[in-house]
């Protein structure tokens, strides 16, 4: 037993890569790759006062701009989905188109869907609960049960794209997007699917959810200057800025992608997960859980720490996360990798964060250009890693790591390598 455990702990001897052949983005930076590249790589924050949050202790957020669900999905379909599914379905459609795949001709039962979300259709639950309290049970919508539950985003993606293979939602709080990618890769390695649509979606911009996050002290309270509120690794950071959106990736085995002549943007080469087992919301101050997830992902990818050139950090802009995470990055990688947090621009997309940042990591590797951390004007002296600030940094990236750590102490990390 001991020998087997040791061997497993040391990881594989041969790497299993999956090709990222398509990506879709519905984020506060806009819809699609082009809008996101323009905004995220220029490092300009999207946070702004939000009329929907007026009267709350924190009344600003990063919202998806100009999103018309009825126009994109058809009104009849749109009225039966929570915004979390609007975002998820639109991002999935983008990713499939980006991959050059045609759902009309693919072998549906071989196409899986794995979506990460933390709060699912929370805002619909909250609205219907309000009707229940105000008018009674006879006024609660029967559609609540096809809008509120967390599984529905994956279900609607299947209905929309005829992706008829294994279909599920995974929920590891703010690590959900990375967890979804990890499980999607496992479905491909096991031969269960030929294509998996993987990613994350979140649309929890409800007054009650935001009030709770504010009262927990998780959110930046910089109400006088929202645009500078999300400032990962900066000495003056005071919390994260809530965001919403979705990101989806089309994943295929490399040989399949190559055989059909697909453009491979990058590869997902490793996945690692762990639990802190420490506290409901605060990170383990030793960073032990985060470190185990990173090392597990590196072992899975058969990559040594010194080979990693870029880290897309969880980098929430909370005082505790950033200092703890930087300590772990320093301990595992030293000072070599170019670290960034794209949350400075798009805020914290919660269950979609890992997926959006996975796509940004893929694009950084593909474009050989690391996006800057917005609002980083004065690096916290305790951070001690090379954080990319002010402008994007051109560089060759042989391997990159995307960190995601969630409430509940749930950690998920992926390794991305070039095509």
């Amino acid at each position: 037993m001991t020998a087997i455990r040791t061997e497993r702990r040391q990881g594989r001897t041969k790497r299993f890569d999956v090709a990222v052949t398509g990506v879709g983005l519905v984020t506060p930076a806009g819809l699609g790759v082009e809008a996101n590249v323009e905004r995220v790589w220029s490092g300009v924050s999207t946070a702004a006062a939000d009329p929907d949050l007026a009267g709350l202790p924190v009344d600003f957020a990063c919202r998806v701009p100009g999103f018309d669900a009825g126009a994109l999905l058809g009104r009849r379909a749109a009225v039966r989905m929570d915004p979390v599914s609007h975002f998820g379905v639109v991002a999935a459609r983008q990713a499939v188109e980006d991959a050059g795949l045609d759902p009309a001709s693919w072998d549906g039962p071989r196409v899986g869907v794995v979506v990460g979300t933390s709060l699912g259709g929370w805002s619909t639950v909250e609205r219907e609960h309000g009707k229940h309290l105000a008018d009674g049970p006879g006024f609660v919508s029967p559609l609540l049960m096809v809008m509120g539950p967390v599984n529905m985003t994956a279900g609607y993606i299947a209905m929309d794209l005829k992706a008829l293979g294994p279909n599920q939602v995974v929920s590891t709080a703010c690590a959900s997007g990375n967890t979804a990618i990890g499980y999607a890769r496992a479905l491909l390695e096991a031969g269960v699917c030929d294509i998996v649509l993987a990613g994350g979606a979140e649309a929890a911009m409800s007054p009650t959810a935001m009030a709770s996050l504010a009262r927990a002290g998780a959110l930046s309270a910089r109400t006088d200057d929202p645009a500078s509120a999300s400032r990962p690794f900066d000495a003056d950071r005071d919390g994260f800025v809530a965001g919403e959106g979705a990101a989806m990736l089309v994943l295929e085995r490399v040989e399949d992608a190559t055989a059909r002549g697909a453009r491979i943007r990058a590869r997902v080469s490793g996945f690692g997960a762990s639990a802190d087992g420490h506290h409901a919301s605060a990170p383990d101050p030793t960073g032990g859980g985060a470190e185990r997830a990173i090392r597990a992902a590196l072992a899975d990818a058969v990559i040594d720490p010194f080979e990693v050139d870029h880290v897309n950090a969880h980098g929430t802009s909370t005082p505790l996360n950033d200092i703890t995470e930087a300590g772990v990055v320093r301990r595992v990688f030293g000072e070599k990798p170019a670290v960034t947090s794209t949350k400075g621009v798009v805020g914290h997309l919660l269950g979609a964060a890992g997926a959006a940042e996975a796509v940004y990591t893929v694009l950084a590797v593909e474009r050989r250009l690391v996006p800057p951390t917005a609002n980083l004007t004065s690096l916290d002296p305790g951070i001690g890693v090379d954080v990319v600030a002010k402008e994007a940094r051109p560089m060759e990236i042989g391997a990159a790591v995307n960190n995601s750590f969630g409430f509940g102490g749930q950690n998920a990390v992926i390794v991305v390598t070039p095509a």
Binding site: A77, V79, L143
Partner: protein, 79 residues
Amino acid sequence: MSAHQDRLFALVTDKLGVLPEELNTTATFDSLDLDSLALIELSVIVQKEFGVQIDETALTPDNTLGDVLATIDAKAPVA
């Protein structure tokens, strides 16, 4: 034409997503692609907006918005 028609049609478009050009008083719910969940939602809308409890027999796939309007006309409280 029922005095309530314009308001009911606007609600069906807004809440159930049926396009205005699809709406008339004779099309069956089945032909409008309104399933059982949508029909229960319709009963909630009518109760909330018109104060009228809809008889379940008026909400089968073979019924029409004309049937619903007839019920509203018969039962709606006089404004």
